[in-house]
Every structure is written in structure tokens, then in C-alpha cells.
């Protein structure tokens, strides 16, 4: 199951080398988007809708235009473009009507931020409020107000099928076996509905962009977006221009992503302004409030699961229905729902399965990717129900899961593909052991466990160059985005290992679509696997060229030499030459060795419709204590075991796990976006939308399981998203264990839990 035997010896892979960007970051010298400044830059500000759903009757910008220092004022009419990866449904600025409170209605570019702010206040907009719909169940009723009347006219991805004249943005279904027959075979059938809250990424860096138009019609945008090549495509599709008219540059560093910094956000307004400023760049930095209301949310969801089991605990059938509230625009909602569906019945061997998922438009802010990509919602439902069933059958929750857990060669319950590199049971066992599962605990103390599996977006491609210079220094030319996860370090380690060059001699670029080759995105926990492969192949290509160059100089055949520590050595001999010397001795006047690499998994199907090239597995166990007097939940410890294939950098994996788990605690017991009756967000700030602080964070025990993947670089898979998926459910299951109270709606804030405890004792 795992690769504990015959582990090859690596020089840097598998070692917790220090991050190559850490020095810049601890000295305050790392440059983020808002740290970039152009001498002739204008400042942009956005006027946003105060209504969740309203007709725009009239916009008067004349007073704003007259204000000295204002360079441009734009409305939807000035930028008649619609964007969106899944469905092209979102106007750059609202046209005709607004669909959520916080939508961009007009924008100003001015000499200073203060002037831009004043100008925004001078714009008059006349609205006619329309009936709005906020709830996902309400939105599906035939009488519900329509969020998009023109749904039938929008371009969309082939796998997304919006239903015109409804609020159904997308619909998915997975079927295996015969679920009705399965339920008939079951000794007991259980069914429950669970509600999952929306939430925000709360990257500490606010959203920003700088855009500049050129006289040729070309537009350059500097933006911390997690997928610069996808952004270029999305913009090109929206604006109807070829790729060469757009250039996307990622600032050197990004202050956190978690799925939120993809797609079109501040980019749209920034470009609309830049097209009207006579080639002067425009910079927009969103306020924290705008970052909450007008960037991206997690989908709130209502999920119903029905599962049939034999008395001995064997699962024979499972059915799930997922309703995901995607807000006003599709964004990545359809594929978020799709992934929620794919993992919709959990990581178990189940012969009869039916999963239906609906992505539903409402007048809430836009929902899309947030760490876990639709899985926290569906996982909360089926992993809670598993606990209900285990309790009813009198089987230990860990045993119950182990009995049904996916293993090497199992059939994926939803897609039907055969699974390889499956470290799930090891994750369950290690998490349970670490938390001392089964140990008697005092009253009001409890343990809970939850597990999951997740695929990555497939097929998707990555390409890279490895450039070796005359002095033997190396640059890795890649569009992978350093969002904080440590991808620059991972790629440097892979290059170092493959090329035999010390890591200190390697630099890794930030993306610029003019220079760095294609990468689908730094999302879906795909970067280490996909870009890791591309970089490894590029390093191998460069190495072969260098070996061919150096061998004759050393009087040997290329097969007789190897690259180690920046040198080419004759195997088993003393003769050696540095890479720099080899290049210089052949190309005295100078030349670059350019290694090329790309990776594209060969699987049947189009993007998102294919089986995943790899699946990640994980299990988390929680030990917590509740205070029956106050309703306070104190999480004592979380053990989080994750199958990463191969930890290229164990310390980076630990960091991912610790960070994801603490985000998950926020989701479980703190974080909830609140709105008033009209759909205005009530808590768009860190005071009222509370995220965990250092005092809230419990002891986290990160555990890496390594079920190596045949196709992964050195066996590696991914990690980022999985770290949050199981945390909220493990917390909820531990609350049940401590109190007998089954949590069906998150978050379990102290207030809510106090009421639940009171209700029980009443």
C-alpha cells in the first residue's frame, strides 16, 4: 500500500529544505501587488450596488466626470463584455440590472485615491428594486425570481448545462450500479439533510490589479491571479480578442489564495478603466469590505444523503443530492458542484450509487472555489451520516470506516474507475492512533473522525523550461503561482534533484504570459504533480544536453557520466567538470542550454469529465471538550493524516496541513457570513467575521502518508485542498461523541451550541 520499502535516496527531495522565498519574506522585501507602483499610475475606485437585485434605470456620471483629477468614468455600457470560465454570464460592470449587493456598477480612475473616492460619491444611480432570492431551495421553485433571464444565450463549457428559465446554473449526475436495488438489499436505510455555511477565504492580502493599455490595443495586467494563462484566455474570450492582445503578469508574491484568486474579479473593472485613460496605468486595491462582498465566497449548501447498509456494517447503496448556492454568477460554481458530487458518497466501496448536484443562482455574492472545491459541503453530509449509522449499528466509527474504506484497486464509487495509490486506511489508522482513539475520556470530552478522497482537475496541462546559463546557474521558467504554499521551493527541489545542481544555484520565475509557458492553474492541488512533472522533464532534457556536451570533454560516453552537485563526473572515476565549464568550453562566446518539459495526463474525456489522474486521501480525528454551562467548544487536538504520495518537502506539507486544519476549525465553529433581509452583508470585516487567531488554534498533529503515485514526480500527488475538507465534520462528530448532540448545520458557534445544549436539557 505504501512505499516504506526500497525508498530511493534523494539529495533534496523528501527533505525539509528552507523555503527559497523565506529570506525576502522575513525581511519585508518580498514584493506583492500593492507594493508595485508606476510613476504615472492612476487610482481606481468602484461604485457598488446597494441592492441584491434591482433594475438600473439611469446612471448619471456627469458630476463625477467634471471633478478635477478624474481621468475616466466607466459603466457597463463602456465595457460590453461578459466573462466566466464555466458560463460566460458575468458583465465586467453591471448592465441593465444588478444581481447582488456589492456588484460593480460604475468605476472611476483619478490622479489620487481621494479624488477617485470623491468622484464615486458624485455618481447618481437610479434603481428599481426587484424581488430577490437568496435561499437555494427557494431559488429552485418555479415561482422564484430569475437571476438570469438570458441564460439560454450564454456560452458555456461543454460539461455545464444550464437550464433556461430557471435558476439552475448547472446540473450533474453520477450513477453506478442500481441504487434502488441496493436500498432493497439493505438491512437498514438512513437519510439526513445537512446544511453547510458560506464563508470567505480571508486571504490577508486584499484583491488588487494594475492594468495598462498600449497604443497597439494590447493590454497588460499585473494581478495576483492563481492562473495567469487561464485569466488570459478568459479575458480573450470575454473581449473577443486574440491572446497576443493580452499580457498577464503575476506580481512576485501573492498574499494567500485558497482558491479565491482565480477567474475574473477586480480584473474586469480595472481593464474597463485602463481602456479609457490614454495609456496610463490604473491601480485598484479593494478594501477589506469589498474583498468580502465582491470577490468570492464559498458555496453554502444543502445536502441530503441516503445510505443503505447491511447489519454487519457493509454499505450497499448510497444516494446524495447536493444543492449549491453559487450566488449571482456561475464563476467556478459548476465544477465546484461537480467535485462535490464526485466525492459525494465518501471514500468507500459502494456498488450502488446515485449522486445529483445542482448549482443554483441566487442574489448572493458570487461563490466559487474555496479550499476543498465543493467537498467540505458534501463531506459534512455523508461523513456525519456515516457516524449516525455506525452509532445506530453499534459499530465503532473508525472500524466502520475501515470496513468500507477504499483501498488499492477499489472501484471509485461515483466514476467507476479503478483506484491506485490509495493510502486511506493508513490515514485512518494513524489519525486514530495519534488521537488515542478508544481511550476513556472524562465527561463533556469527545473524539470524532472523518475521512475523504478528492481528485484533481483532469486532464490539464503544464509546461516548463529549465534554463542553464554559462556559469552553471539555473532558472526554472514556469507559470506556477507562489500563493504561499511553497511551489517555488518544491520546483527548485525537483530541479535540483533531477539536474544535480545545488538548490542555491536555482531561481524560479513568477508568471508572465509573454515569457512563461502554459500552465492550467495553480489550483486543485495540482501544481506539485503537474508542474512538478513538467519541470522534472525539462530538467532531464537540460541534463541530457549537458551530459552530451560534457562527456567528450571528459573523454567518456554520455552514458558514462552523471550530474551531481553542479558537476559532471565520470561514474566511478575522478574526472569531472562543472556544468559552467562544460558550457563555456564548448560555447565560448556564450549560449544557454534550454531544457523543455511538459506534462498532460493521457486519460479519456474532456476537462472535468475525465476520471482524475490522481486522488488524495485523508483522515482527521478531533479531541475536544465542551462546556455545558457556556456552550464553549475547546478543541484540544486534531490529528490530520494525509496521503500525499510523496512529501517532496515534509515541512511544507506540515504547514499545509496545519493551516488547512485551522481554517477548517474556523468553518466549524466561528465563520458565518451574515446578511440583512435585503441581502446586504452585515459582517464584511475581521471584527464581525471572526477567523481563528493563535489563541484559538489547537495542537495539530500533521501526519504524512506516502502511497506513491506511479505518474507523480518522485511519487508525489497533492495536499492543499484536502487539509480543510474533513476538519468541520470531525469536529461535529466529536461534539456528538461528547454530548450526544448531532450537528446538522454549521458553524456550531458558541451561541448556537449553547441553545442546542439548552434545548436538550429542556
Amino acid at each position: 500500500m505504501t512505499t516504506t520499502l526500497e525508498v530511493p535516496k534523494y539529495a533534496t527531495v523528501g527533505k525539509s529544505v528552507h523555503r527559497i522565498d523565506a529570506l525576502e519574506k522575513v525581511t519585508g522585501r518580498a514584493i506583492y501587488g500593492d507594493d508595485m507602483r508606476f510613476p504615472d499610475s492612476l487610482y481606481g475606485k468602484v461604485l457598488r450596488s446597494p441592492h441584491a437585485h434591482a433594475k438600473i434605470k439611469r446612471i448619471d456620471t456627469s458630476e463625477a466626470e467634471k471633478l478635477p483629477g478624474v481621468k475616466a468614468v466607466v459603466t457597463g455600457a463602456d465595457a460590453p463584455f461578459r466573462g466566466g470560465e464555466a458560463i460566460r454570464d458575468q458583465p465586467f460592470l453591471a448592465v441593465g440590472k444588478v444581481r447582488f449587493a456589492g456588484e460593480a456598477v460604475a468605476a472611476v480612475a483619478a490622479e489620487t485615491e481621494e479624488i477617485a473616492e470623491r468622484a464615486i460619491e458624485l455618481i447618481k444611480v437610479e434603481y428599481e428594486p426587484l424581488p430577490a432570492v437568496f435561499d437555494v431551495v427557494e431559488a429552485l421553485k418555479p415561482t422564484a425570481p430569475l437571476v438570469h433571464e438570458d441564460l439560454h444565450t450564454y456560452a458555456h463549457m461543454p460539461i455545464v448545462n444550464p437550464v433556461p428559465n430557471t435558476n439552475i446554473c448547472a446540473k450533474f449526475e453520477f450513477n453506478q450500479g442500481d441504487v434502488e436495488k441496493g436500498f432493497r438489499q439493505a438491512d437498514c436505510v438512513f437519510e439526513e439533510t445537512f446544511t453547510f455555511p458560506s464563508g470567505h477565504h480571508c486571504q490577508i492580502e486584499p484583491f488588487m490589479a494594475i492594468a495598462q493599455a498600449e497604443v497597439s490595443g494590447r493590454i497588460t495586467i499585473w494581478v495576483p491571479n492563481d492562473a495567469p494563462h487561464r485569466l488570459r484566455k478568459d479575458l480573450a474570450d470575454a473581449m473577443g480578442v486574440p491572446f497576443e492582445r493580452l499580457r498577464v503578469i503575476t506580481p512576485p508574491y501573492m498574499g494567500g489564495g485558497f482558491g479565491g484568486k482565480g477567474g475574473l474579479k477586480v480584473e474586469m473593472v480595472c481593464i474597463a478603466l485602463a481602456m479609457r485613460t490614454e495609456y496610463r496605468p490604473v491601480k485598484i486595491v479593494l478594501t477589506r469590505e469589498e474583498t468580502f462582498t465582491s470577490s468570492l465566497m464559498r458555496h453554502s449548501a444543502v445536502v441530503t444523503v441516503k445510505t443503505g447498509v447491511k447489519k454487519d456494517g457493509t454499505i450497499v447503496a448510497s444516494q446524495a443530492k447536493l444543492l449549491y448556492n453559487t450566488g449571482a454568477y456561475a464563476e467556478k460554481g459548476p465544477t465546484v458542484t461537480l467535485h462535490g458530487c464526485e466525492s459525494g458518497v465518501g471514500p468507500y466501496r459502494i456498488p450502488n450509487v446515485k449522486v445529483e448536484g445542482y448549482t443554483v443562482y441566487t442574489n448572493r455574492p458570487v461563490a466559487g472555489a474555496l479550499r476543498g472545491y465543493g467537498l467540505p459541503q458534501s463531506s459534512f453530509a455523508h461523513e456525519s451520516l456515516i457516524d449516525v449509522i455506525a452509532a445506530k449499528l453499534g459499530i465503532d466509527p473508525v472500524e466502520f470506516r475501515l470496513k468500507n474504506a477504499l483501498e488499492e484497486g477499489s472501484i471509485n464509487p461515483t466514476r467507476g474507475d479503478v483506484l491506485a495509490s490509495v493510502g486511506l486506511k493508513e490515514c485512518l489508522l494513524k489519525a486514530a492512533k495519534e488521537i488515542e482513539w478508544g481511550k476513556p475520556r472524562p465527561p463533556n470530552r469527545g473524539v470524532g473522525i472523518a475521512c475523504e478522497y478528492k481528485g484533481t482537475k483532469t486532464p490539464s496541462g503544464s509546461a516548463a523550461f529549465v534554463k542553464v546559463e554559462q556559469d552553471g546557474s539555473v532558472s526554472v521558467i514556469t507559470s506556477a503561482v507562489e500563493v504561499g504554499q511553497g511551489i517555488k521551493t518544491i520546483l527548485a527541489q525537483i530541479t535540483s534533484e533531477e539536474l544535480g545542481v545545488p538548490i542555491e544555484r536555482i531561481t524560479v520565475t513568477s508568471p508572465d504570459t509573454d515569457y512563461t509557458p502554459f500552465d492550467a492553474s495553480t489550483t486543485a492541488s495540482r501544481a506539485t504533480f503537474h508542474m512538478g512533472n513538467a519541470v522534472r522533464f525539462a530538467a532531464r532534457d537540460a541534463k541530457e544536453q549537458i551530459l552530451n556536451l560534457a562527456a567528450p570533454i571528459l573523454g567518456a560516453n554520455p552514458q558514462e557520466v552523471e550530474a551531481i552537485d553542479g558537476e559532471i563526473r565520470v561514474k566511478g572515476g575522478n574526472r569531472k567538470i562543472t556544468i559552467g565549464q562544460a558550457i563555456k568550453s564548448r560555447y565560448r562566446a556564450g549560449l544557454t542550454i534550454l531544457g523543455r518539459g511538459s506534462y498532460y495526463p493521457e486519460v479519456q474525456g474532456t476537462m472535468f469529465s475525465a476520471r482524475s489522474i490522481f486522488y488524495m486521501y485523508g483522515a482527521q480525528a478531533v479531541d475536544l471538550e465542551v462546556d455545558p454551562e457556556t456552550g464553549k467548544i475547546r478543541i484540544v487536538k486534531i490529528a490530520a493524516a494525509h496521503d500525499v504520495g510523496k512529501a517532496i518537502n515534509p515541512m511544507a506539507c506540515e504547514g499545509q496541513i496545519e493551516g488547512g486544519v485551522v481554517q477548517g476549525i474556523g468553518t466549524a465553529i466561528f465563520e458565518e457570513v451574515k446578511y440583512d433581509a435585503k441581502g446586504m452583508m452585515l459582517n464584511p470585516n475581521f471584527r464581525d467575521y471572526r477567523i481563528p487567531t493563535a489563541s484559538d488554534a489547537p495542537e495539530v498533529a500533521p501526519i504524512m502518508v506516502e502511497a506513491a503515485h506511479d505518474e507523480g514526480p518522485f511519487g508525489a500527488k497533492g495536499i492543499g485542498e484536502m487539509t480543510l475538507v474533513s476538519t468541520p465534520t470531525a469536529v461535529a462528530n466529536a461534539i456528538y461523541n461528547a454530548t450526544g448532540i448531532r450537528i446538522k448545520e454549521l458553524p456550531v458557534t458558541q451561541e448556537k451550541f449553547f441553545d442546542l445544549m439548552k434545548g436538550r436539557s429542556a
Binding site: 525581511t27 490577508i204 508574491y253
Partner: protein, 156 residues
Amino acid sequence: MNLRVNGRETALDVDSTKTLLDVLRGDLFLTGTKRGCDSGECGACTVLLNGQAVHSCLVLAAELDGHDVVTIEGLSKDPKDLHPLQKAFIEKGAVQCGFCTPGVIMTAKALLDKNPDPTEEEVRYGISGNLCRCTGYSKIVDAILAAGEEIRMKKQ
């Protein structure tokens, strides 16, 4: 007005509405101090004002004539001779996206200056005004405790 910034007397002409954060980032190009919320809730803009950790987004610059400010850029002049906190943050893996890092380090500096031998709980409480969304805080706490130890060793 005059402000002592990172040990250097700096003459400034500032608008009365500007915050210390505006001046540091906008006038002095000290962009290591980050703007995360502009309302004193995230801690990314933390600097030392007369040795105390403050949210620079909440301090009006014009009131600071004659005061002393230290930012992340002033913590060590030589990247080969980092402050123990900076070294520990690198070694313990306490840095991910890095956006909160300068603020956390400055808060930790004030904390260790006052109490070079804090308990884990004191460290956690001490940095609870600095939000980090990447790390889950474990490695940050480890790094601050390790830096405290190094500082104590050096003093002996």
C-alpha cells in the same frame, strides 16, 4: 515634522489625514509593512512605535513628531546577520504567503523585548491580534519560542 525611522532621522511633510502606514508605504517606500484591513483588525501593518507594537493603520502620522519607528526593514541591516526572529521564522517554516509575516515578527519582537522567556500560551495570546490564514500558527509559535531561546542564550 521629524520622525526617527529605523534609526534614521527623517524629515517629512505629511497631510494631517495620513496614517503612519500611509507614510511608511507611500512616502518612505517601506512596503514591508502591509495593508490588510486598514482598520486595526488584521495586524499586518504592525510596527514598533517607541518600542511598542502598534497597528500603523490606526496611528495618525502628523502626531508623531520626534517619535521613533521601527519597521520590518529596520530589524536587521544585513541579510547575513538576521534578527533571531527572522532566522527562526525561516528555520521553523513559519512563513507561507508571507503577507502577515512582517507584522507578526514585529509583534513578536515587542513581546520578546518585554518578556524574553514567554510560555507558549503567552506567545499565542501575544500574537492573537495578528491574523494568519496560511500557517495555522503552530510554526509561528515554535519560531517565536525558538527565537526567545536564542536571545536568552546570547545574553548569557
